[in-house]
Structures are given as structure tokens and as C-alpha cells.
Amino acid sequence: MSISIQNVSRRFGNFQALSDVSLNVPSGSLTALLGPSGSGKTTLLRIIAGLETPDTGTVLFQEEDVTEKAARDREVGFVFQHYALFRHMTVFENVAFGLRVRKVAKDIANARVKELLSLVRLEGLGNRFPSELSGGQRQRVALARALAMRPQMLLLDEPFGALDAKVRQELRTWLRKLHEEMHVTTVFVTHDQEEAFEMADQVVVMNHGKIEQIGTPQDVFDHPATPFVMDFLGNVNVFHGRVKAGRVELGPFSLAYDAYTHEEPRNATAYVRPHELEIDRVATATSLAARVLQVNPAGAVVKVRVFAEEYGVELNIDLIRDRAAVLRLQSGDTVYVHPKTARVFMPEPEYAI
């Protein structure tokens, strides 16, 4: 079932949680709402579930306007950030809850719960109470409970936020697989860009109650629409310079920039990711001299921090291990840095009246 959000706004007292947000979630897709805390992503998710009402705007499921529809009639599976398991019920009764309140015949309900418990690999734990489970197990109970009514869509609020790194990784992979098997339209909220990129078909980046960008993970990562998206998606080096006649000049660097071909120069900001900076031992005409501050070889890439005295900027650079082995950097070494590529943003020109 597809979801369509149209011009939704929501205010809490003086805080504008969402302002004029529109979004389409295709049927059967897995969409991530990505943003920092306070960006409105959880509010948006709750509005889709009907747990929160928008001040203005509409929510459509397929063609049907559900804005006024009560949460219990929306047939949405919702997984809460802290699972919100019913602490006085066993795992079995937790999963069965939706079936019980809808008066599904007992034998059908029990069979369905058994099936779900095996789906989330919790067979044999039906008689436990939530307090007797690990974090990962609770998360899976919450998921099974949300799936019990065979919902048209599944909404997850920071589903892996409270889990440790290893369990989180396992559950991500598992949930992605589950989604491929069931094809239920899924929306999840996260502040972790890695999680969003790894799981989602569609990533929605939010900030200050607005949507900054919607796209596939590849799209969003390679072509960030705004400086915020660029900055939010991991470590980034910022350069200030000018654009002019199809090129961007950033201190000693000069790169092609087709988007601006006018002769009149304009101020611009360029963002370069750590892996897009190249280090050399010898100087070229367009490279920047810098002193190595720190080399951190622990990890898949070697992280280097350098300081360019001429401009007073500190840069973060990721080197692949082979390259690092060739360069054999020591802190204190003088090196020459240049960007392979950069993403340029021009501030809106200010017109004087």
C-alpha cells in the first residue's frame, strides 16, 4: 500500500515539528526517514500511524484519505523506539494482543502467533516475560507483535537505536531480508546514515521539520542536494572559494564546474569527503602543502589528519590501505593534498535594493 503525505504541518507549542512536508512512499518499498534529533522524522512517522494528528495537510493510503482515521483502524504495524512491550504479558500474549482485541478465534490466533514467533526466531520463548529477554530479542518480539495483524504497512521508530553494534548489524540484515520476503511497505526512522543507506530503497533526509532531499541511497550520497545533506552524511571537509566561468577556485585548487559559466565571479562553498582527497609526496601546481598531524591506521581505511598552515585549515583524509603503505606517512611529514572532486554550493545571491 502506497503512502502519500501532502503538505503536512505540525506544531507543538512554539516548536514547529513539521512544516509543509510532502512525500510519496511507493507500495512495497523500504523508506528511511533520516535526520538529526528534532528534525521531525518521528513526528512524521507517528502522523502516518495516526498516533499524532497533523495541524494541516492530508495523509493518503493508496487513494484513501486517512487523515481523520483513528490509529486502531489504520491497520498499521508500529514498532516503538523502546519497543513498548506489555510488561505484564508473556511474549506469546504480547504477540497475540492485536488478534485478541480484534476477537480473532483463539485457535487461529494461537497458530498465527506460533508462526510469527518462528519467523522472528523466538520459538520456545513464548512463556517468558519481556524483562527476561535481551534487547535484540525484545526488538524481535515488538516486530512480531506489529506483524500479527498482517498490516498493510510497517512503521519503525529508531528500530535498532538501543542495541549494541553487533546485534544491530545482524538485525538490519535480517529485517532487510524479511522485507524482501514479505514486501510490506516499510518506513523507518533513523539518525544513522549508514543504517539508512544499507537498508533503504529510498532515503528521505530531514532537517528542522522540512525535507532536504529524497532519493535512492546512491543518489543522496553522490549528489547531495544541500550543504546540510552533505554535512550530515558523514565527515566532510569544507572549502570556501569562488566560482567563475565553469571553474571553481578554492585557494590553490581549481576544478571544473559546469553549473556556473558566467564570467562574473561568485562566492561558493565546496564540500569534499575524506576519501576524495589525494595525498602526494611531491608538489604540483594545484596542490596544497600540509603537515601531517596524526595517522590512524586502525580500520578499513587509514585516517589521516593534516594541517594546511597557509590557509589555517585542518583536513581529514581517508586513504586506502595500499596507498598508505606506499606513502608511509609519519606525523610531522610535509605532504601535498588535492581534491579529486568536490561538491559546490553557491549561496543564494543577495540583491541590494
Partner: protein, 294 residues
């Protein structure tokens, strides 16, 4: 319930550090105070009540019609007051924890008023409003529903004095439970009614029971407010505490002590119930906090 667990832990740490003489001194002082103020009078009530044997004690309770009626009145009135305060307490706690509205803090403060105001003043207020000289009294009398010097007044006074117990117990509990489980239930299709019976009530039942027990203990023993509105009509508006006083004033000490001993037994039963409940809730809280940590 939370407090008692924490207090024991703090006490344990202190005892380990303090010098022996201080320990003995402090324990001695507490022991003396408890003995003089609580144990001796308590035992004395029973000694006096049962001084002439259980048969005489029983006779004191049964042979006097007014005493009989006072027991009946208390045993009926107290549970009704508790029932009213349970319904009110649930409604108030629900309102105050689930909604944010103008005047919320005021309502929260007013809820404590019955504890702050002297019971005699509370009784007097009822007298002034519903009494024959009050502005509602004559009308109610015409309708055949007199409040003062009759059981509705007693019920009103008892309910007023015991009003905060249930609500006060539930508000912090419901605040700490939050609304996540309830939202989860709603998203799973529960109606309001199902939500209350299947989620809210099971989560607050021990706190609720605790509040009810405290409320009941206070309702049985209430004297001041009830004294003012009762008018002391023997066999009609005398509750047990009032009866104890009246018998005592009439120099009927055996009768007075017999009724007092019954009241004390009720109090001890309440205490026992409280202790059992505290043990149980501590166990429940431990399970709860464990769940939160994960």
C-alpha cells in the same frame, strides 16, 4: 515503595561507618520512642479489652445496640468512601498524567488540600454549606435528603478526608509508566475500554491496591470531620471512632476498649496487607527496572 528500598540501602551504609556507641544510642532512642508511644498503648488497649476474657469482650460488642450499629455504619461507610475515591482517584490521575491543560497545576495542588486542612475544618465546611443554617441545607431537607446529622454527611466527610490517597499513589506511578504501551495497544487495534482493562489497569493494579488500602485505613479511623457532621445520634450517626469516645465519656471503659480493640485489629490487618503488598511491589519494581535497562 521506591523509597523504602532506597532507605534500607542508605541505612545499611551508615551503620557500617558509624561508631558503635552512636549506633546503640540511635537504636535505643528509636526503641524507647516506639515502645512508649506505640507498643505500650497498643498492648494496653488489648489488655483492657480482653481483661475479663473473650466472652466479656464479645458481649460488649454485641449486647449494646448502639455499638452494633456503629460497627455496621463504619463497615458500610468506609468501603463506599473508598469506592468513590477509587473512581475519583483513577479519573484524576488519568486526567493529570495524560493531558496537559490550563489549571493542571492548580488541580494538582487542590488534590492535596484534604491532607493539609484540619479534618474539623472540613467537617465545619460541610456543616456550613449543607446544614440547616447553610444555603443548601433547607432545600435538601425538603427533598427528604438531609446531609448533616445523617449518613450522607458522614460519607461526605469521610470521602473528603481520604480523597488524595488513591490519586496521590497513582499519579507518580502513571507518570513513570509513560504512554508508550498504551500507544502500542492503540496501534494494535485496542478500543479505549480494552486499553484500560488490558494495559493500564494491570500496570497500575499494585499501586491502586496500595492506595485503596491506605484510603480504607484512614476512612475507618476518621474522627474529626465526622464528629462535626454526625451530631452524635446513638444508633444512627455514630461511627466506631465516635462510639469509642462516647462510651469513654460515659465511663463505660470495657465497652470503649472493646470497640477500640476492633478498630486496632482492623488497623493491624491493614498494616499486614501493606507489608505484603510492599514486598510484592518491590519484586515487581525490580523486574520493571530490569526491563528499562535493556
Amino acid at each position: 515503595m521506591h523509597l523504602s528500598a532506597r532507605q534500607t540501602r542508605i541505612a545499611g551504609r551508615h551503620v557500617a561507618n558509624e561508631p558503635l556507641w552512636l549506633r546503640i544510642l540511635l537504636i535505643g532512642i528509636s526503641g524507647i520512642v516506639v515502645t512508649v508511644l506505640i507498643i505500650v498503648p497498643l498492648v494496653y488497649v488489648f489488655v483492657q479489652a480482653f481483661g475479663n476474657g473473650p466472652a466479656a469482650w464479645w458481649a460488649q460488642l454485641v449486647k449494646d445496640r448502639d455499638t452494633q450499629h456503629s460497627i455496621f455504619l463504619t463497615v458500610v461507610l468506609a468501603p463506599v468512601a473508598v469506592l468513590l475515591n477509587t473512581i475519583f482517584g483513577l479519573a484524576a490521575a488519568w486526567t493529570l498524567t495524560k493531558f496537559r491543560f490550563r489549571g493542571r497545576v492548580l488541580l494538582l495542588t487542590l488534590l492535596d488540600l484534604p491532607f493539609a486542612v484540619s479534618p474539623v475544618v472540613a467537617g465545619l465546611c460541610i456543616l456550613l454549606v449543607y446544614g440547616m443554617q447553610g444555603f443548601l441545607g433547607p432545600t435538601l431537607r425538603e427533598w427528604g435528603m438531609p446531609v448533616v446529622f445523617s449518613w450522607p454527611g458522614l460519607l461526605m466527610a469521610t470521602t473528603f478526608v481520604t480523597m488524595p490517597f488513591v490519586a496521590r499513589e497513582l499519579i507518580p506511578l502513571m507518570e513513570s509508566l509513560g504512554s508508550d504501551e498504551e500507544l502500542a495497544a492503540v496501534s494494535l487495534g485496542a478500543s479505549r475500554w480494552q486499553l484500560f482493562w488490558r494495559i493500564t489497569l494491570p500496570n497500575i493494579k499494585w499501586g491502586l491496591l496500595f492506595g485503596i488500602i491506605q484510603c480504607h485505613a484512614r476512612a475507618i479511623g476518621e474522627f474529626g470531620a465526622v464528629k462535626v457532621v454526625s451530631g452524635g445520634i446513638g444508633g444512627q450517626t455514630d461511627t466506631m471512632p465516635l462510639r469509642v469516645e462516647k462510651l469513654f465519656q460515659e465511663y463505660n471503659n470495657p465497652g470503649s476498649y472493646a470497640v477500640a480493640s476492633v478498630l486496632t485489629l482492623m488497623a493491624l490487618a491493614t498494616l499486614a496487607a501493606r507489608i505484603l503488598l510492599e514486598r510484592w511491589t518491590e519484586y515487581q519494581l525490580a523486574a520493571m527496572s530490569e526491563e528499562k535497562e535493556g
